[in-house]
């Protein structure tokens, strides 16, 4: 198949970008100890222009991570604590009647969404109406209030958190909204050594000292470079086959009620490119796809009742998919086997 290469990133550009991204990672690791994988995924998600959903118990540093991110990136960050009585206008902004030189008029007062980095804390506690107000902002990066459309700042990222245990009085996110999050990241508990490091280096109420690593322009340049990372046709084919295999009916997708959408394939491709750039490569690879598949697919797979009863999780299904879908689908003859290299 003839590939359209287009304008691709050079090796030097990729190396420079990787260096900067490495600095960003290192800075974030000073904010959040022992969560290297989480930090890598967050950085990758941002580079892929994706919104992230963080799920974890309270006190694991989700808010600190977002704060640290805003500081290291030199971006304007705002935090919204979602509650059941939060109204859409509380986050998008409302028109206020003001005296202007031309007379009294409704002037739009931007809400907390008008920031580069928005932390939607405990997003599942807001009513569906308020949650859906985020849809337009996340997908189209703009807000429409009283017929007037207001573009959001560029870049615009939503980092939402939700608590997996306190489900009483919560409103689970609808699938349409979940699909708009690039990653769903699980903030896992940390080890005793990490805890010891936190105890030794932090005080309650004291915020970590973080210096900005990138400014807005550099971040936008990085985002542009991610787009120029080359996507080889076999890798694209691998992504397509992997996402297609999530559809119910396949052996690997047993227990799946609804599979991933084409948006998932696009998200996986963008994330793979971002991860490749973070690694200093000029092209996406199968390894990138494999590494990011759980984060991209886990919130897009809806399992049936039986699978949930049996304790099957979306991560289990994704792991099964990754085992069953090879980098290329041509089978090996029975006389041969793949070598362990």
């Amino acid at each position: 198949m003839e590939e359209s290469v287009g304008v691709t990133i050079s090796e030097n550009e990729a190396a420079a970008a990787a260096q900067k991204i490495g600095q960003l990672r290192a800075a974030l690791q000073q904010v959040l100890f022992g969560q290297e994988t989480l930090i890598d995924h967050v950085v990758t998600g941002l580079l892929a222009r994706g919104h992230l959903l963080l799920e974890g118990l309270p006190g694991l540093g989700k808010t600190e991570l977002v704060k640290g991110l805003s500081k290291t990136l030199g971006l304007e960050a705002k935090r919204v604590q979602f509650t059941p009585d939060l109204l859409p206008g509380d986050i998008t902004g409302n028109p206020m009647l003001q005296d202007t030189p031309e007379g009294r008029a409704f002037v739009f007062q931007p809400g907390p969404l008008f920031a580069n980095l928005v932390l939607a804390d405990e997003i599942n506690r807001a009513s569906p109406k308020t949650q859906s107000a985020l849809l337009e902002a996340m997908q189209e990066r703009r807000v429409t209030v009283m017929g007037q459309t207001h573009p959001l700042p560029n870049p615009f990222f939503v980092l939402a958190t939700q608590n997996p245990i306190e489900l009483e009085g919560t409103y689970p996110l609808p699938e349409a909204q979940l699909d708009r999050f690039l990653f769903k990241l699980e903030v896992r508990s940390i080890s005793a050594e990490t805890l010891e490091r936190i105890v030794l280096n932090r005080e309650i109420g004291e915020e970590p000292k973080v210096t900005a690593v990138l400014d807005g322009d550099e971040l936008r340049a990085l985002l542009d470079q991610v787009r120029r990372v080359f996507m080889p046709q076999p890798v694209a084919s691998f992504i397509a086959r992997l996402v297609h295999a999530t559809q119910p009916g396949g052996a690997a997708a047993e227990g799946v009620k609804y599979g991933a959408s084409p948006r998932a394939a696009l998200a996986l491709a963008a994330a793979a490119k971002a991860r490749a750039l973070a690694a200093g490569r000029v092209n996406a690879a199968y390894e990138d796809v494999r590494a990011l598949s759980p984060a991209v697919l886990r919130h897009r797979l809806l399992l049936d009742y039986r699978a949930r009863l049996e304790g099957i999780t979306p991560d289990t299904v994704v792991a099964r998919l990754l085992e069953s879908v090879p980098a290329q689908d041509a089978p090996l003859p029975d006389s041969l086997r793949a070598a362990k290299i």
């Binding site: 198949m1 590939e3 290469v5 691709t8 090796e11 080359f230 080889p232 046709q233 076999p234 890798v235 490749a276 690694a279 490569r281 000029v282 092209n283 996406a284 690879a285 199968y286 390894e287 990138d288 090879p326 980098a327 290329q328 041509a330 090996l332 003859p333 029975d334 006389s335 041969l336 086997r337 793949a338 070598a339 290299i341």
Partner: protein
């Protein structure tokens, strides 16, 4: 190493992997055909050893050729499912952890990775299955080669012979035709009937109905031939007597002429007619003028009858079961045979015979034993044939009242006691006594 060299290196590496994968596909295809081929080869070996032992020297070459053919077919099938180079490249870069660098380089989006020496192969052979299947195939052929096999013995050709009755009839007809003893049409008619029976499949010749029919044909043919023989003899006797009997009384001449006319009519109307010449001669006879025929004409007729009778005797001399009558001219008065009394009687003695031969003394009473019976083992209830003929009654016998103890008929030394009064069983007893 420069970029061009790197590109060549990876191109060669991809081709190497591709060759190995194609070899695997070829091996898979060949192994799939190996067991059926081995079974076929084993069968061929067994058949050749059984049937054409001498051809076994070509067997190694044949098996080798068969093996090559299966290999070629497997190669042809492998070509149809050949893996594209792009897929092999992906297989290689994924196994080596090259981060899709080969595909990106092939697309011109990235430089070729540096060459690696030695380059590990991403796929390796699994020898267990090929070895096991090759071993099974070898064992099959080897077993066929060494297992004891008996040599082929060609089956004997089975020829179904005609039933004995038909063979006998055929022999009769052939002989009588050869001797020109019967009319052609008569022989052909029998042959036609025989042919009808033989037209059925040979396996049906020995069915009960077919055997019955064959026996019936034989019986009828035998009766016809015997009848022909008797009529010829009767006609010949009558014609011969007429030819020689100048001084015969008119009554006797008329009797002989009537006898000749009857015999002639029976000869013409019988199931088996005499030779064509004789038949024509008999047709020209006028029954009303036989008495007036010249001596030469009668002699000529007698000679023709005699000739036909001899031909018939000659033709059927090997068929003792047929009860043929000899010509009278060779018997009473002319030969060694016994006579029949009267003017034609011969000088011979009439033997006392209890065998099948008829003791025909010219009387109306004829007796003979059933030819099917073994005379040495006769029992009291056995049937003896007695022809229905009117008993000879001595009309001149004295029927007047007799004194007590006197004989009604003096007889001839008691000969009438055993000649006229005894039944055949009693005769046999007497015969044994005097033997």
């Amino acid at each position: 190493m420069n970029a061009v060299a790197d590109a060549r290196f990876w191109d060669r590496a991809v081709r190497r992997v591709s060759r190995r994968i194609h070899s695997g596909w070829w091996l898979d295809g060949w192994l799939a055909a190996l067991i059926p081929t081995s079974l076929l080869a084993a069968l061929v070996v067994l058949v050749v050893r059984w049937r054409w032992e001498s051809a076994m020297r070509w067997m190694p070459w044949t098996l080798g050729g068969l093996l090559l053919v299966t290999m070629a077919v497997a190669w042809w099938r492998m070509r149809r499912q050949a893996e594209p180079m792009e897929a092999t490249r992906v297989r290689l870069e994924d196994a080596l952890g090259l981060h899709a660098a080969l595909s990106a380089a092939q697309a011109g989006a990235a430089p070729w990775p540096e060459a690696r020496e030695p380059l590990p192969m991403p796929v390796v052979f699994r020898p267990q299955r090929p070895l096991a299947m090759a071993l099974v195939g070898l064992l099959l052929v080897g077993a066929a080669w060494w297992v004891p096999v008996s040599r082929y013995v060609p089956p004997e050709l089975r020829t179904i012979e005609k039933p004995a009755a038909l063979r006998e009839v055929e022999q009769w007809i052939d002989q009588v035709k050869e001797e020109d003893a019967v009319a052609e049409e008569s022989a052909e008619e029998v042959e036609k009937e025989m042919q009808e029976l033989l037209q059925r499949p040979a396996t049906d010749w020995y069915e009960h109905a077919a055997l019955e029919a064959a026996d019936q044909l034989r019986e009828m043919t035998a009766q016809d031939l015997e009848q022909l023989s008797q009529n010829l003899a009767a006609a010949e006797q009558a014609s011969s007597a007429l030819a020689q009997g100048h001084g015969l009384p008119n009554g006797l001449k008329e009797s002989l002429a009537q006898k000749l006319a009857d015999a002639s009519r029976q000869l013409q109307n019988g199931g088996m007619k005499p030779s064509q010449d004789l038949t024509n001669a008999l047709r020209q006879l006028d029954p009303s003028s036989l008495k007036g025929m010249s001596q030469q004409e009668l002699q000529k007729l007698s000679d023709q009858l005699k000739k036909n009778s001899k031909a018939l005797q000659e033709a059927l001399k090997n068929s003792p079961n047929l009860k043929l009558c000899d010509c009278a001219g060779d018997k009473p008065g002319k030969g060694k045979a016994y006579g029949q009394g009267g003017p034609t009687r011969g000088p011979g003695e009439v033997p006392l015979s209890m065998e099948e031969d008829v003791t025909d003394l010219g009387t109306q009473r004829k007796e003979k034993l059933d030819g099917q019976l073994d005379l040495q083992r006769l029992a009291a209830a056995d049937t003896v044939q007695v022809t229905d003929a009117a008993p000879q009654v001595d009309a001149a016998a004295d029927h007047s009242p007799q004194a007590g103890g006197a004989l009604r008929s003096a007889g001839d030394g008691g000969s009438s006691a055993w000649q006229d009064e005894l039944v055949p069983t009693e005769r046999e007893i007497l015969k044994r006594y005097f033997r």
